[in-house]
């Protein structure tokens, strides 16, 4: 799930009270000496929420298109969202997204990061799916929407479409991506196995080996690869 390792102080969720969490988030901002002003709100939103590509380019584009409707208040909500994402406060992420951003134009980048939390809290599968479909259409350079749709198709039991989406994610993910990349290859391998069984064994092994090339410490991939190579008849679940 989206979270960026930083040295900023984190919040430990203390209660489900929205206002309480908002105060705590603002305390984190104050502790980091963040003052959102009319002349720096865009920069802060980009630096906090989307420091890396391709997210940064997309958020910059969104800001440029909707600049007349955004501003200091919007940027504060973005920074608060990022703090909740760092803290992995699932419920607060969803509640804050629903409350704070309904006043603004829909942002596919926020949707792609928040949808997973919507799924994991309320289980609102179809809402999350629509968010990923929107993101897949609007964020043509992003692997993540396709990865998430691949995963959703797998959960639905539609293995062929899952592999198609994972293939799209593979085509888009950067060769040096060590965060999402390993998961894309690992999950594509699993679904290939679900679809074709042992006849896909060599393709599955190739996917697992690529996952481990990107992240040598990926424990699930290590276990699965060892088992798949070691036994004639084995399933990865």
């Amino acid at each position: 799930m989206k979270s960026k390792p930083t040295s900023r102080p984190l919040i430990t969720p203390t209660s489900s009270d929205y206002r309480q969490h908002t105060r705590e988030a603002d305390e984190v901002l104050a502790a980091n000496q963040v003052e959102i002003q009319p002349d720096n709100w865009q920069q802060l939103a980009l630096d906090w929420f989307a420091p890396d590509e391709p997210d940064r380019a997309e958020l910059a584009r969104y800001i440029a298109v909707h600049a007349d409707r955004l501003g200091v208040t919007w940027a504060r909500e973005v920074l608060r969202l990022q703090i909740y994402l760092q803290a992995q406060d699932h419920h607060q992420i969803v509640e804050h997204y629903d409350r704070a951003f309904r006043a603004y134009p829909r942002c596919a980048l926020f949707e792609v990061w928040v949808a997973g939390y919507i799924m994991r809290t309320s289980g609102d599968f179809w809402r999350a799916r629509q968010m990923y479909l929107n993101a897949a259409e609007e964020l043509s350079a992003h692997a993540k929407p396709h990865y998430e749709l691949g995963f959703m198709n797998y959960l639905l039991g539609d293995f062929s479409s899952a592999v198609e989406q994972f293939d799209l994610a593979v085509a888009l993910v950067a060769t040096d991506d060590t965060e999402l990349g390993p998961r894309i290859f690992y999950n594509r391998g699993l679904v290939r196995f679900a679809l074709q069984g042992t006849s896909a064994k060599s393709a599955v092994i190739a996917d697992l080996e690529e996952a481990l090339r990107r992240d040598p410490h990926y424990a699930q991939a290590q276990t699965t690869l060892r088992a798949l190579k070691g036994k004639a008849r084995w399933t990865p679940w």
Partner: protein, 236 residues
């Protein structure tokens, strides 16, 4: 069809969501209408198809069966429509679909693509347009649907049989043990875990070499054939 001695069986099971627990009750009723008697007597569904008389099919239900269950049986035994089997959206879909969050025409990406294409087509006349729509609806009825875990709407409508009932029981028992040991941040996380377990389970070959998915599809196809034969043999 039903055991001679009515009895009450209480089972406690863990489900990831309330909706799945409720749908499980519907799944059991679908199994029940396809359950033949101990001596090979026709099941509720066969009686309804053969006679065209739902009341007759339900006549032998024990008095202990509550009214709301009888109404559910009645709904399940209604004749299928000539057009699209939209009632499939309200069926359980069996163990393969038990945990899929409820969906309908609004979420049906397959039907919306099909109907958009039909709407964009120019037909010679209104009857041709209507015929094309009827063909399209039949196509939808008999095409594996990605949101039904690859079952066709017709396979969903027919419900599961005794083999699927046994497989479902095995999976749900295994699931119960798994869910009891874990904590989840929300209902959704439990649902995701359940679906991952289900999809792995459904492709794992059983003792006979077939996977649960293969067994379930074969049984539902057999039930569909039996329905066709029963309807064909119905007295005019």
């Amino acid at each position: 069809m039903v055991n001679d001695q009515p009895h009450l069986e209480v089972r406690q099971r863990a489900y990831p969501t309330r909706a799945a627990a409720e749908r499980s009750a519907l799944m059991d009723l679908e199994f029940a209408v396809n359950q033949s008697g101990n001596k090979g007597e026709p099941n509720l569904a066969e009686i309804a198809w053969t006679t065209g008389d739902i009341k007759r099919a339900l006549a032998d239900l024990p008095a202990i069966v509550p009214a709301h269950i009888r109404r559910e049986f009645q709904r399940l035994l209604q004749p299928w429509p000539a057009g699209r089997y939209v009632e499939a959206y309200r069926r359980s879909g069996g163990i393969l679909n038990l945990f899929t969050p409820a969906w309908g025409a609004q979420q049906d990406e397959v039907w919306s693509t099909m109907s958009a294409k039909w709407q964009a087509t120019v037909f010679t006349d209104a009857p041709a347009r209507r015929m094309a729509l009827m063909d399209l609806e039949q196509q939808w009825n008999t095409t594996p649907h990605p949101f039904f875990a690859g079952l066709t709407p017709a396979q969903v409508m027919i419900g599961g049989g005794p083999l699927e009932a046994k497989l479902a029981d095995e999976f749900l028992t295994q699931l119960d043990r798994t869910l009891a040991k874990q904590n989840f941040v929300g209902e959704g996380a439990a649902l995701i875990k359940t679906l991952m377990l289900l999809r792995g389970w459904q492709v794992e070959p059983q003792r006979g070499g077939q996977t649960p998915w293969q067994i379930i599809v074969a049984e539902r196809n057999d039930l569909l054939l039996r329905r066709d034969r029963a309807l064909a043999n119905r007295p005019v």
